[in-house]
Symmetry: D2
Subunit: 350 residues, 4 copies
Amino acid sequence: MNFSSDNWAGATAPVMAALNRHSTGLAPAYGTDPLTEDISARFSEIFETEVTVFFVSTGSAANSLALSAFAKPGGAIFCHRDAHIQVDECGAPEFLTSGGKLVSVSGAAGKITAEALREAMSAFPDGVVHHGQVASVSITQPTECGTLYTLEEIRQIKAVADERGVPLHMDGARFANALVSLGCTPADMTWKAGVDVLSFGATKNGCWCAEVVVFFDPKKALGFEYFRKRAGHLFSKSRFVAAQLEGYFEDDAWLETAAQSNNMALRLAQGIRASGGRTAWPVEANEVFPILPKDTVKRLQDAGALFYDWPANGLPDDMAPSENEVCLRLVTSFATQAADVDCFLELLKV
Amino acid sequence: MNFSSDNWAGATAPVMAALNRHSTGLAPAYGTDPLTEDISARFSEIFETEVTVFFVSTGSAANSLALSAFAKPGGAIFCHRDAHIQVDECGAPEFLTSGGKLVSVSGAAGKITAEALREAMSAFPDGVVHHGQVASVSITQPTECGTLYTLEEIRQIKAVADERGVPLHMDGARFANALVSLGCTPADMTWKAGVDVLSFGATKNGCWCAEVVVFFDPKKALGFEYFRKRAGHLFSKSRFVAAQLEGYFEDDAWLETAAQSNNMALRLAQGIRASGGRTAWPVEANEVFPILPKDTVKRLQDAGALFYDWPANGLPDDMAPSENEVCLRLVTSFATQAADVDCFLELLKV
Amino acid sequence: MNFSSDNWAGATAPVMAALNRHSTGLAPAYGTDPLTEDISARFSEIFETEVTVFFVSTGSAANSLALSAFAKPGGAIFCHRDAHIQVDECGAPEFLTSGGKLVSVSGAAGKITAEALREAMSAFPDGVVHHGQVASVSITQPTECGTLYTLEEIRQIKAVADERGVPLHMDGARFANALVSLGCTPADMTWKAGVDVLSFGATKNGCWCAEVVVFFDPKKALGFEYFRKRAGHLFSKSRFVAAQLEGYFEDDAWLETAAQSNNMALRLAQGIRASGGRTAWPVEANEVFPILPKDTVKRLQDAGALFYDWPANGLPDDMAPSENEVCLRLVTSFATQAADVDCFLELLKV
Amino acid sequence: MNFSSDNWAGATAPVMAALNRHSTGLAPAYGTDPLTEDISARFSEIFETEVTVFFVSTGSAANSLALSAFAKPGGAIFCHRDAHIQVDECGAPEFLTSGGKLVSVSGAAGKITAEALREAMSAFPDGVVHHGQVASVSITQPTECGTLYTLEEIRQIKAVADERGVPLHMDGARFANALVSLGCTPADMTWKAGVDVLSFGATKNGCWCAEVVVFFDPKKALGFEYFRKRAGHLFSKSRFVAAQLEGYFEDDAWLETAAQSNNMALRLAQGIRASGGRTAWPVEANEVFPILPKDTVKRLQDAGALFYDWPANGLPDDMAPSENEVCLRLVTSFATQAADVDCFLELLKV
């Protein structure tokens, strides 16, 4: 009953198989090997357009470096107040953009709204040097609340970004989970909806370490290799990432593992509701945020269940935890078993 | 006959075995897993003192972040003019130290001398704000010329660093090769000789991606986790590095692979000399820099040999390549076979 | 009727007289001249303790550099959401601290409260690398709302800063206005209440360009000259600042000009209330924020009055401007004349 | 007999007169006042083309910010090894460009040559990410050796910069001295010879504090106000700089003061040669570098003469100081009197 995080899991069998397959022999370093080139081409196929991809070492690096490519002096980066870049990356976006300011935008269920974005941007009128200048917009899909932007919502946000001439970044640390849940194509969820640059995360969904910055316009990717190298994020043995991704994409393994973790989350959610509980937000990917009585939580912990408490920010009063309740975050992964879920659910019943 | 670089090799069998062994199951993220803790303790055993270690993603990151921990405003970092941090890291040390200046120090065979270091530092007298201030000294072991500092040379450099109260960093991208060649202990080559912080590289010697910043005084390591995270270098699935290192250290595998590559380099060097050739610098680790007639080089290339040309900086006139000669860099690795070496040597003979 | 800002004024007669007096002759550059030393000593007298002072070129530089001296990787700087460093300095604090994050703290009338500060800091628990770490607290005296922290309020904020072991910075761009209004000593309002470092602004109160970073503990000032120089803020002809300050302090000229501007603000406030109007916040220094009917504002503008609109953030509903009202900012300076004020007040009456 | 530096002087009478003239009244802040606009227009007249100008607070700021506008990740800035930006600005160029690397270029008499520049740039081939990328070229006019680039030499350097597509910056801390000495127009010495951006220094030549970044192509100046403000270099009372420049330019006062200091330098040089001495480099502006016997230097000091020793870097052996000699730097300014010079010269004779 370990629902701590999807980054507690290891690597999937196809990923390990590919790593083993490519572990011998010599290949050019620093991303010029044939396997890295193959996988780069594979990304263009998957996204149905010519993309430029860069492997980096962590999701924080992917986000921060993507944003650094669009940084400006006094630049403001707009994101949800709960976004990973805002609260969980130890200032990496600020540091790697040489001092960018992350401006929090409100919105229910972890999602910024087009209106709130426009309002937040209005504090940075063009040409008023004191306030700085708008630099970029970043959304997270799925969000920190386990919810999803619809394609229409992404398009609306893009429209606001366009009003100010700034690019749209998507933090896709759990990209596959969103994709499978929405049932759309990778192209639909990204460049067709207006995303300019994507942090494509594969680590949480079954790789050891495979995070990719994807530019949908190769012209915007020009020079990005210098941003990456300057921050120490150019792997010498790049094929170790490429190999993982080969296994990841093989026979749609990535979609299967994402479906598995999403399904486990749904199973959790249904069980919680069936036992009379509620979740803070809709369960749309692989995270579940049940609000449970404190004594139930204690019972779960005593039985060995692992999870984190979660600040249920921004809930309406009638949804928020009462004094006797607490909000938990349960994350499922490809390694989550139905038996684990059921064991957890069993404990909810008294 | 591929002597391009040791980072063209993949991963060794023990490293892959350990990775496979640890690929399943759940473990805490971000370096709090038991395996990472085990390997950290292993470092203290290997270095015979309590060390604090941090996994990072690349050698450039290890160097730059180690130096960032000792950065100062207007800080000058002293290194050899050919050092990797000076010429091969795309300004990562400057960027990650928020504007440090890398001051080149001269010295034959890739090694700075204590005298040249003292002289270079004298341009930064204490208290003269215009020139900035001394921040740290960095040496590379083995050097970019494939040579080694003796323990006494390291101690002398440390003594100069002490005169100005700054720490000594060692770039050990090929640490094991140096260690095996000198035949000393890890402790001898580092803290006992005055090294304060080490970039311990395992990638080139048989891992996929395993670079470690080692602090020999835990007090100096305080707060370093924030430097690492702020630059996007904290792996979520830290155990994938730990597992590699488990395999790396197992049964002294790391020393064996280093010995293998060193031996292949010596075999190359002996054959080159036997055929009447010369090397730019003594062969003391796993790099060989032969100076060869251009037509010989052409013959080697036509036969499929892979290597890079190398600027033979700083050679005395009677050693430097003539107009008809060129200096090559040949790097051996754990994957280099004696047959490959012999095939190369055969081509030297007409 | 120009109430645009106190930085629209020029220099006072004593300041110009001192500048003229010191404009000839030769003196050492870069702050080593006798006049700079005299003025530095004068600061120690004024603050009744040994202080270390640094002239810098702007208030933004003073704030940002002061904060940079206490920066940490992933460091969070806590300030009011309306603070100058948060909204008016184009990211200078973020840039000059190499990526600090400015965390907004709520509070009525431009003042953070100890409780809100503690709550905001709780999002940065010690040792949790993801969220970064607390670095410093900054308050503005007088605030952006023209209000003042009482000495007790400063002490309470300091106590919270102490709980987390971080220093307290005061942005004193209008330091003299606060001092005169509170009727306390410079020592009372700063180090005796817990301020570690002060941005002492003299520009708005009658100098051309005289901004000073004041450290109340000389040990904390060690090395600050490198921060200043590294950002290009070390004046060569330092005595041009020193001379201004000589004139500024002479015969308590600075207190007189501050009293003059404060009195003009009070006269405005009293007149506004006498005519049935209200101000958004109490008038405690040299800024007045009347909330006026839009047609009155139009009448004022038609008559040539100059001022800026102001977002009346954070007012309770019963105080906030109605649809037909707007909040203005009126700033008085040493150059403001009673006749100007009276002319403005006359226009309020219909 | 004070030849310490031209920044030991105060302000000239026309500069003080203008400051006094503009010290009263109210004017918009932050560079939007009519006087700043007038002076900006005056720059376009002086340079015979439409320029965009920005006042900043110091010469170091002017240089570093100008270079920051052309910064790139991993960017290399090429300058003479003795350039002020390389040795006298405490890392401000590195810091304000977020980690730029200043690459030293050799050349006699403080001047880089086109050939040496091309050679230095060749270490940064396009597209090789490890080495970083060429970002800009900076020359100093007059140089740190008091010598001048001819217009043809500037054009040749520009041609090399053009080969790599990077801009040419001129550090004109003593711009007027160079201009008067060459007898050309400001346009000739800058944009007509290929200069893209100029640090126009007026402080050393008679202002208190007037340093200006001049862009010769307004398009390249776009957004520069954000670089300036982000570093804390936007003066609120901008007219205090504008006023100084009004006085500076009035009746060609700036050319007269520069001529005066140049003449005093020539008088020094001629006297030194007449007494059998030599200078390290030709005297082409307002700096003289005599190489004198140590006992002569002692005699000068005993008589109260003030100057700095100077490392006579890069002199050919037959010019370099012998064991019994030392190289001095004598700087003249508008405040230098012929009597002072003659007194100094008298002391050279035994």
